[in-house]
Amino acid sequence: MAEREPVIGIDLGTTNSVVATLQGAAPAVIKSRSGSTLTPSIVALTKTGKTLVGEIAKRQAVTNPESTVYSAKRLIGRKFSAKQTQQAVKNLSYRVETGDHDDIRIRLGDKTLSLPEVSAMVLRELKLDAEAFFGKPVRKAVITVPAYFNDGQRQATKDAGRIAGLEVLRILNEPTAAALAYGFGKNVNGKIAVFDLGGGTFDISVLEVGSGVFDVIATGGDTYLGGEDFDGRVIDWLAADFQKEHSIDLKADRMALQRLKQAAEKAKIELSTARETQLNLPFICTPAGGGGALHLQKTLTREKLEELCADLVARTVTICEQVFAEARVKTIDLKEMILVGGMTRMPRVQDAVKEYFRRDPCRGVHPDEVVALGAAVQADALTNEESDVVLLDVTPQSLGVAIAGGYVRTLIQKNTTVPTSFTEVFNTSRDNQTTVKIMVLQGESDLAHKNELLGEFILTGLRQAKRGEVEVDVTFEINSEGIVSVSARDRETGQQQSIQVTASGGLTEDELKRILDEQADLMLEAKVEEEVKTKQTELKALMKEVTELMPQLTEATRGDEFGQDALRKANKALEVARPAAERGDLVKVTESIDTLTRTISLFKGVLQRIGR
């Protein structure tokens, strides 16, 4: 059997990312080239114009706050004008701008980048780590997203994968991935729950597992509830105290904000094991009116942290209650309860979970790695015929269309197994109407404006007829990745109607194409550069050979006009070759190689004739 192409699973996290693959019968994390299992999801542009990704980018964040991008996952697939975006931007030390169609752009040096491009840099780093591990190119990957991600966020993540040069086999829900990793290779039968509180998002999923079938019964979550929000509470607390004492807003100073952020995260992590911790930030700022630099020194106890974050923990429990009610599953019927995400290390979170589920969570599941491991299992399941794994995942949010009066008609209920589709008939409401506009929404509210607008679809080129006579079947489809597509067909003529998509927050097809072309250009450039380098080396070797032959030839052809001429020509060729070898112009280098090759054969011919 031919060796199978390597496939990987990637957990693209808010704070950290992990890459894994199936090794033999078990999934395993692929370590980065620097030897760590977690790669910080951070990208930076240095003052000298170098791009840094991962640990190395994280280390220089404090000294380069404006050009260090973190938490890109909190912005990906969102609209600039969205309330949550505006909220998030306040606590970011890098600059966020609006794009052409209400999309988000990040300013990095003199360029602005889309979110998929930023995430692609992290993905590319992981791809390189995997390639170093396998010793050959890796193209195929499964990438995970929070289960509660909507269509736009999923699309954008998939775009990021494409930009990174990956063929994205599947966008997979994180809690489902965790369940896959947990149940893989074991004979698990029964209901399990996955409680996933990560760096930026919260998900809870209930599944029923039996002989290789992983059936998601219900899922819910909040894409703005995670470790970053806990850090935010500590930052706000520190900044508010400082403001009271010194009347200075530390959050306005980007470098101070970055230091606060790192200190808050560190303190929070320490408080998972210690009862109290010190926050020391010397020289945090210099007062505008002169005077010595100010320092920040505070003690944070576990109790205080829990008090600051009490409502965040409570929210996770409320969401659990909703999901279990929807799933019509009682917590006592659960066979196992799996904790995922770094935030589940916090004692208060563990207590809340234990209290709600009335059981101890499953041991032996690594909260940071399990999602990537599950992604690797799914990547294998999709490409390996021997795999016995079947995944029945669901759509996390209801899909509907806006109807008269600003209301929503739901077409596909949340927690419906995907892939699924629904066909709805649309009528023209005016005589000779040739276009129909359909607003597609995702969310649970009855009111259209309270849901996420996925896009406006305009049916064009309808045949002209009396109103109500033209009936168009519009099919809404959600694929296995939770990504929505819409197609339309005239009922009477059976003709496919074209659909135009507007008002989507993601990259347009043109933009994506441009980015991919740029990538291709970059690759081409890299290739040309490599070729030039090889030719330069070749040229230099030839120059050396000619130079070494020169004295021999001078000796042998002393007084011979014919030899003198050859020598003159050789000297001239060398003169031309020298700058070419240094500067590296491909055309000139190639020319010089030709001349010198001829010179050498001439020299050799002369030496032979003279009989040496």
Binding site: G24, A25, L169, G185, N187, N189, E208, G210, S211, G212, V213, D215, A381, L382, T383, E385, E386, D388, V390, L391, L392, Q413, T416, T417, V418, P419, T420, S421, S480
Partner: protein
């Protein structure tokens, strides 16, 4: 024809896809899922999962499917719809409301399983008593309903005590028509279904043993298979072994052996059969897992030793 189309599917699977595609137009979702009319939400969900193993598009990811891709997509979407409709109380009720023929089929299914019980001849006194009662109840619809319900329930309980499950089923069905939300009735129905399955599968198993004694292997195999379907563990094993001895389709053996192992995870013999069939079906990794499990359960078993040795000579 479609069967001749060159795609990455074995003929058996092709046929299954074409067969189910034929049923797409069938509005009886119970029949589409291959469950009995009126099957419980639990049974529907189980059937849906089983069918997903064969018809989920992911099972054929990246394969050349030609026209079968569209067929599969359609089938799976319909399976999702059927599952979604029949497992949600509200939607199920609405669906039954809109499809009287399905309601009729459910009633017939109940009736077909047990002919109506012939009432014992009644004495004059009793007749008079009945008359009076009927008149009284007619004036009081709530009581009428409750009494009817109680009567059906007690008849059902009698039938259960006598292990006449199909009769019990009929009574309970009528009881549930009188009061669809009665918890006791629902619980009893679930119990009866379970018991009925057990009884039926035990019956099938006995037929199988008898057929085997007569030397009718074919009939025995069929009987064991249907016992296995009803959850009979030994039946599943017998069927799997017979197929194994006759060099049957390893995947079918695998499915049956899996049932046996699920029923008795600690039985080494069952597990070895499963492992061998997995190996024959080309699922080496899974086979290895089960051989190892067998080795763990009974390290001294000669067959285990042989296999483990064959595979790992160190």
């Amino acid at each position: 024809m479609s069967m001749d189309e060159k795609v990455d599917l074995d003929p058996e699977r092709k046929q299954e896809i074409l067969d189910l595609e034929q049923k797409l137009g069938n509005n009886n979702l119970f029949e589409f899922l291959g469950v009995s009319n009126g099957a419980s939400a639990e049974d529907v969900r189980t059937a849906f999962r089983e069918l997903s193993r064969k018809f989920h598009p992911d099972r054929y990811f990246g394969k050349q499917l030609g026209s079968f891709k569209v067929r599969l997509d359609k089938i799976f979407k319909k399976l999702v719809e059927a599952n979604q409709t029949l497992t949600d109380d509200v939607r199920r009720a609405a669906y039954l409301e809109a499809n009287p023929f399905v309601r009729a089929a459910i009633r017939n299914a109940g009736a077909a399983q047990a002919p109506p019980i012939a009432a014992a001849p009644k004495t004059e006194d009793e007749k008079q008593h009945d008359e009076e009662r009927r008149a009284r109840l007619a004036r009081h619809p709530y009581l009428l309903k409750t009494n009817k319900l109680q009567e059906f329930v007690s008849r059902a309980k009698d039938a259960i005590a006598k292990k006449e499950f199909s009769q019990a089923f009929t009574h309970l069905n009528q009881a549930s028509q009188a009061d669809p939300n009665n918890v006791e009735v629902k619980n009893l129905l679930a119990e009866v279904r379970k018991q009925n399955d057990i009884q039926r599968s035990e019956g099938s198993f006995k037929h199988g043993v008898e057929a085997l004694a007569r030397g009718d292997d074919n009939l025995a195999l069929q009987a064991f298979k249907s016992a296995a379907n009803g959850g009979h563990v030994l039946g599943a094993f017998k069927a799997a072994s017979m197929l194994d001895a006759a060099n049957g389709d390893p995947r079918e053996i695998k499915t049956l052996a899996q049932k046996a192992v699920d029923g008795e995870p600690k039985n080494v013999e069952y597990r070895l059969l499963l492992a061998r069939s997995l190996e024959a079906a080309g699922m080496k990794a899974m086979a290895k897992k089960h051989f190892e499990e067998a080795a763990r359960l009974e390290p001294d078993n000669p067959e285990v030793k042989k296999h483990v040795k064959k595979r790992w000579p160190f």
